[in-house]
């Protein structure tokens, strides 16, 4: 059982870019309704998929990361492998859709 980690500009390189396992990053904000519904789904994926690291970026706190990865709609999920973005999923999706489309 693992929980999502909070990703910041400071720990991004260490936790995401240098990770040996794939990293699923959820860009979200507390004032975004669809993000509020997506949060528990991302938590479930973290619990059920120990082979990946799941992280969350609060765009309110970390606007630099959102700009760097051209995020202009939330929620957005990015899948990183070996330090590079391998897949992107924009908007609210069911757990099954996320698993089917992003992995």
């Amino acid at each position: 059982m693992s929980k999502p980690v909070e990703i910041t500009n400071e720990n991004f390189e260490e936790l995401v870019l240098n990770a040996t396992d794939p990293v699923l990053v959820d860009f979200w904000a507390p004032w975004c309704g669809p993000c509020r519904m997506m949060g528990p789904i991302v938590d479930e994926i973290a619990e059920e998929t120990p082979s990946i690291i799941v992280g969350k970026v609060n765009v309110d706190d970390e606007p630099e990361l959102a700009t760097k990865y051209n995020i202009n709609s939330i929620p957005t999920l990015l899948l990183f492998k070996s330090g590079a973005v391998r897949n992107t999923l924009i908007g609210l999706h069911t757990k099954q859709d996320i698993i089917n489309e992003i992995f």
């Binding site: 309704g33 669809p34 509020r36 519904m37 995020i71 202009n72 709609s73 939330i74 924009i90």
Partner: protein
């Protein structure tokens, strides 16, 4: 605070209101008169009418039936719904109301803009939610596509983020007696939204081009599907997903009628309204 606010006063909304009211709960129905039912010339396949009835007549009879049962109905346009911890705030052009539960019953969304490039750039410079995505366009050039009170409301939210907000009415006129005064609007018909990685310009049919950083879609009257997208309600093929009790994935928000897909028939809308009304009554009473 209302036990339930119903958005839409067609067959689904009014049926829901009757069941909720008969459970001795406080219900408010808010809607405009522009229902799809009015477009039905003669209805001959609905139970109980010996002679065909027009959609408009049936719509009006439904409202009168509810009024006779002392159900509160307001002729107003809902432009936003806010989800608080234990209740919802419904914002209309004229007022704000609070409720424990919401029933979305606005009918099927028929106002999605059919503009070249719209689908292509969704999530890449095109958004349906000013509150969610306005953040990414701070002090940038923002366009709102739409011509009603809903578009004015979205533009107003975005004006807190940028001074450069223009409404593109796409060939329509802004409301005559509008609630918010706007000066920055363009009335030409839109030919396409263009860009490379993301949407970057709006091209009108007369070939005039406008550079933009972000485009927000708010066409027509906000529908149940528009509210669903902002709130985080799951959709399936642009229909609202509901469980066996007509509840969406947000506890306390229900949906009924055409906006949930399936048969676009009065009989189905009436069933949905009844089912959701009973489910809402059970939820509010904690049965």
């Amino acid at each position: 605070m209302y036990d339930c606010i119903i958005i839409g006063k067609g067959p689904a909304g009014i049926s829901g209101a009757i069941y909720i009211s008969r459970s001795n709960l406080k219900v408010l129905v808010i809607g405009k008169d522009d229902t799809a039912l009015k477009k039905a010339h003669l209805i001959e396949n609905y139970y109980g009418f010996e002679n065909p009835i027009t959609g408009e007549e049936l719509f009006e009879i439904g409202i009168k039936q509810a009024e006779k049962q002392n159900i509160e109905i307001k002729n107003d346009e809902v432009i936003d719904i806010k989800w608080n911890d234990n209740f919802f705030t419904v914002i209309t052009v004229n007022a704000e109301y609070e409720a424990k539960t919401i029933l979305l019953a606005t009918g099927k969304s028929r106002n999605s803009a059919n503009i070249n490039g719209l689908k292509e750039f969704e999530g890449r410079g095109i958004s349906y939610c000013a509150i969610c995505d306005g953040f990414f366009y701070k002090n940038k050039k923002i366009a709102v596509i739409g011509s009603g009170e809903y578009a004015l409301h979205e533009a107003e939210i975005l004006k807190n983020i940028s001074d450069d907000v223009t409404i593109f009415t796409n060939g329509r006129e802004l409301p005559q007696n509008r609630s918010i005064e706007v000066t920055n609007y363009i009335e030409g018909k839109i030919d396409a939204i263009k860009g490379k990685e993301k949407a970057s310009k709006i091209v009108l049919e007369d070939n005039t081009e406008y550079k933009v950083d972000g485009i927000f879609i708010a066409e027509g009257t906000a529908s149940s599907v528009d509210f669903a997208k902002k709130l985080g309600i799951f959709l399936d093929n642009n229909n609202i997903k509901v469980d066996e009790n007509m509840q969406t994935n947000i506890p306390g928000i229900y949906a009924a009628g055409d906006c949930t897909g399936g048969l676009l028939q009065i009989s189905k809308a009436v069933y949905d309204g009844a089912k959701s009304g009973l489910s809402i009554a059970k939820k509010v009473k904690n049965i």
